[in-house]
Amino acid sequence: MTCSGVWNCIVVPLQFGPTQRALIAAILIGALCAVIGAFVVLQELSFIGDALAHASFPGVVIAALLGFNIALGGAIFGVATALGVGWITRRSKVSLDTAIGVLFAGMFALGIFLLSLQQNYIKELFGLLLGDVLAVQSGDLWIICGVGGAILLLVLALYKELVLMTFDPTAAQAQGLPTGVLHYLLLCLMAVTVVISIQSVGIVLVVAMIVTPAATASLVVRRFASIIVWGVVQGIIAATAGIYMSAYIDGVPTGSSIVLAHTAMFLLVLLVSPRPGALGGLFRRA
């Protein structure tokens, strides 16, 4: 793609239907991931999120081969593996992170095995591992809107409970909150967010969409709500920058360009911010 002049360069990619849909999908997913990511980062669930993405792989492969919705296939396998981890840790003395390591790598290997039974699987493997938001159809957009909207509504409805549980789980329990249920709910919300994002950014990179915005924000802000606001803004910027990057540089997968934009912002803020909380004055209540 080529262009001349700033305005022209902004408009040219948007003349194509796939790019329009890709931009909308990437922005929605970027914002959704950032909201969930605020809780994931502060509860130190990043490892579980990454593992969930990998565990959903066989489901994604089977759905892709059979022509079903890949998010649905991925969700089924992701949730089944999460339950399997719970089952293993209850039945044996295997620790949680070991059980996750064993099961989730095993599931990922199963996905590659299933896919390699096909001819010319390398290209498809790349598509699934790295994602392609330009391939998003309008039906996919509706799924992202519907499921993403439902997740955001749940987070909003349970905001004060989730916040207290994240900050002080003992006090949450003492105030009568069902912390176990809330914990599993958060894991489920994260799993669903992961699988509806896989199509756009791919299995390998989805964890960065969740973790990096909140990680960047927490270098700077002094209030939890600000992490969410910052993360959503960063998600929108990274999605836009990433889509334009892959529109102008041939062959760059969108997942890679979006995550690179996130990583660049993280490094920039890390270098600029003199100490944690230093720029917090910007976010203080008047």
């Binding site: 509860q43 949450a172 002094r222």
Partner: protein, 268 residues
């Protein structure tokens, strides 16, 4: 089994005690951590729960709140505790919270309203007013907009006390509120707690510090898995009770006694 009580007549008084604990036992796997602990606390009392590390002090507080599976009974003003009850507030040990969580002092104190508000309701004007009032009670309202992470340990402890007060409880259970802060700060916190008990709140706190006990508490509860003794400090702190609670080494070694005494005088 007789119920130990701060004042012997309290068990027979007409009004039910603020807190009535009977035969409370907790097992972790096969280990009995609390062994049939029974006691009663009158309204407005400041009670210190003392014992060595691992004695079951934290477990006792959690069992009273129903956070850990326990047998026995706990009555608050004669009634069992419901879920999301505002009547008993808990102040966890300060290192039990997630210190990477960014929040202002006011944010933290408003969190004390979470359980009381119930599902699907956002904290409003009244909740913020209660939070400011609670901060004033612990003399911290001028720091309401500061980051909780920027405060000193003693200030953080007072913020958590304010969060508990914002819940408008009758009883406060505090886990190690004077640990990890310097002696002058311990005095400040103990005086705050004394003031609160004067307003009618019932307070139970755990500690493994021994140097404040005589003057600050209405009653001491010596715990080492079972209840060793319970009553006014002057009656409880006998060599035999201290030895049964903390073990022989502490009592028999003059040097550790001296350390305790030195700590007591050093900063006063």
């Amino acid at each position: 089994m007789a119920i130990a009580s701060a004042s012997p007549s309290a068990a027979y008084a007409t009004a039910p005690a603020a807190l009535h604990v009977e035969h409370l036992s907790v097992k972790y796997e096969d280990r009995l951590v609390l062994d049939a602990v029974s006691f009663e606390v009158e309204s407005g009392a400041l009670v210190g729960i003392i014992g060595p590390n691992g004695a079951g002090k934290t477990t006792l507080l959690k069992a009273i709140l129903g956070l850990t599976p326990a047998s026995g009974s706990v009555l608050v003003s004669g009634r069992a505790l419901r879920q999301r009850s505002r009547r008993v507030a808990y102040v966890p040990q300060i290192n039990a919270v997630n210190w990477r969580f960014p929040a202002t002092v006011l944010d933290v104190v408003v969190m004390g309203r979470t359980g009381v508000l119930g599902w699907l309701r956002w904290p409003g004007k009244r909740d913020r007013e209660l939070a400011h009032a609670a901060l004033e009670q612990v003399h911290m309202d001028h720091l309401a907009q500061r980051s909780i992470a920027d405060l000193s340990g003693g200030q953080q402890q007072r913020v958590f006390l304010a969060r508990a007060l914002a819940q408008e409880p009758d009883i406060l259970l505090l886990d190690e509120p004077i640990s990890g802060v310097d002696v002058p700060t311990q005095e400040v916190i103990l005086h705050l707690l004394r003031d609160l008990s004067a307003t009618g709140k019932t307070l139970l706190l755990t500690t493994h510090h021994l140097q404040h006990l005589e003057h600050h508490f209405d009653a001491l509860l010596c715990l080492n898995h079972r209840l060793i003794a319970y009553g006014p400090p002057s009656k409880v702190m006998t060599p035999a009770v201290v030895e049964a609670t903390f073990g022989r080494s502490l009592v028999l070694s003059p040097s550790s006694e001296q350390i305790i005494l030195e700590c007591g005088h050093h900063d006063l």
